[in-house]
């Protein structure tokens, strides 16, 4: 598979994503500068974490107006796989590819720590490698990860099984104590209607190698690669 990793001014997890795809999984990977106007030939596009445009105005807001985002939107509409991690998730909501918004963390602080996530939907193209209800250890690193959407949107996401991951205890209990940032219903990652766009605040690309303390992010990439469980 060929992965495109979009690079905005201020992206800083682009190299991590490139390393993940190219070196950990041995796939084709290419950086895609944000002024690019074609995504021809890519099977999956990753919007990496970082602080695009210094988080000015709102996180992800200015990046969502980059030329490449028109291409990302048509790529997604054609069924291409799009994954936004952290700042990438924020950009996808600003671009309208995913509903809701990532607000400032409830505690106002930047949080960089390992979190436990419960896999809520293991039927998607990004999570099929996990078992349903499995608890995985994937780190977060953000100041604006507090997922918010109006009650109707939340009900629709829940009803359609579009919540991919939820912050939980290591035992899989979804509670306020396990919620690092104030996200509604402990939501850590969501899918679009067609299931070909995933946005998540935790960083699966930082949980692929033993040296980094967890291998649990592998499931996301292995699911994309379509490996059988």
């Amino acid at each position: 598979m060929k992965f495109g990793i979009i690079v905005f001014p201020g992206s800083n997890c682009d190299h991590d994503c490139y390393h993940a795809v190219k070196h950990v999984f041995g796939q084709e990977a290419e950086y895609v500068w944000h002024k690019t106007t074609s995504l021809d030939g890519f099977d999956c596009v990753i919007l990496p974490g970082g602080f695009s445009y210094g988080d000015y105005l709102r996180t992800g807001a200015i990046a969502s107006f980059s030329p490449v985002m028109n291409e990302v939107v048509s790529f997604a509409k054609k069924g291409g796989l799009v994954m936004g991690i952290c700042n990438g998730f924020q950009i996808l909501t600003e671009a309208g590819l995913l509903p809701g918004v990532l607000m400032r963390n409830k505690g106002l602080k930047f949080i960089c720590e390992h979190t436990h996530l419960r896999v809520e939907n293991n039927g998607s193209r990004f999570t099929s490698r996990y078992s349903g209800g499995q608890v995985v250890d994937i780190p977060i690193a953000h100041a604006d990860g507090n997922y918010y959407a109006d009650p109707e949107t939340i009900a629709r996401l829940e009803g359609e099984g579009r919540v991919a991951f939820r912050y939980s205890t290591p035992d899989g209990i979804v509670s306020d104590a396990a919620n690092p940032n104030g996200s509604i219903s402990n939501i850590a990652g969501i899918l679009n209607e067609k299931g070909n766009v995933l946005g998540m605040m935790p960083h699966p690309e930082r949980a692929l190698e033993g040296e980094l303390g967890s291998l649990d992010g592998r499931g996301v990439f292995e699911s994309i690669l379509g490996r059988l469980r």
Partner: protein, 84 residues
């Protein structure tokens, strides 16, 4: 022409920053009951000054606020164009 853009959080949306400002700002001021933090932008306009909002480029229409959580109001001169 100069436009003024006011962005405020919608009612009911939690504003942790406002809460923090209240915590710091209200020391010794019991009268402060709540603080909500918003944004104010000044935009210099050329050419578009006379056009209707619908004809403005997408960036101008959608950039100032995320309407999931924010309201915004634009003032041009003495004319208030939009109140959400």
């Amino acid at each position: 022409m100069r436009a003024k853009v006011y962005v405020t959080l919608k009612k009911g949306v939690l504003d942790p920053q406002g809460k923090a400002v209240m915590g710091a700002g209200s020391i010794g001021f019991d009268e402060v009951k709540d603080v909500r933090v918003g944004k104010f932008m000044e935009v210099e306009l050329t050419g578009l000054a006379g056009s209707r909002r619908e004809e403005a480029p997408r960036d101008m229409r959608e950039a100032p606020a995320n309407t999931v959580i924010e309201n915004y109001r634009i003032e041009r001169g003495n004319l208030s164009l939009r109140k959400v």
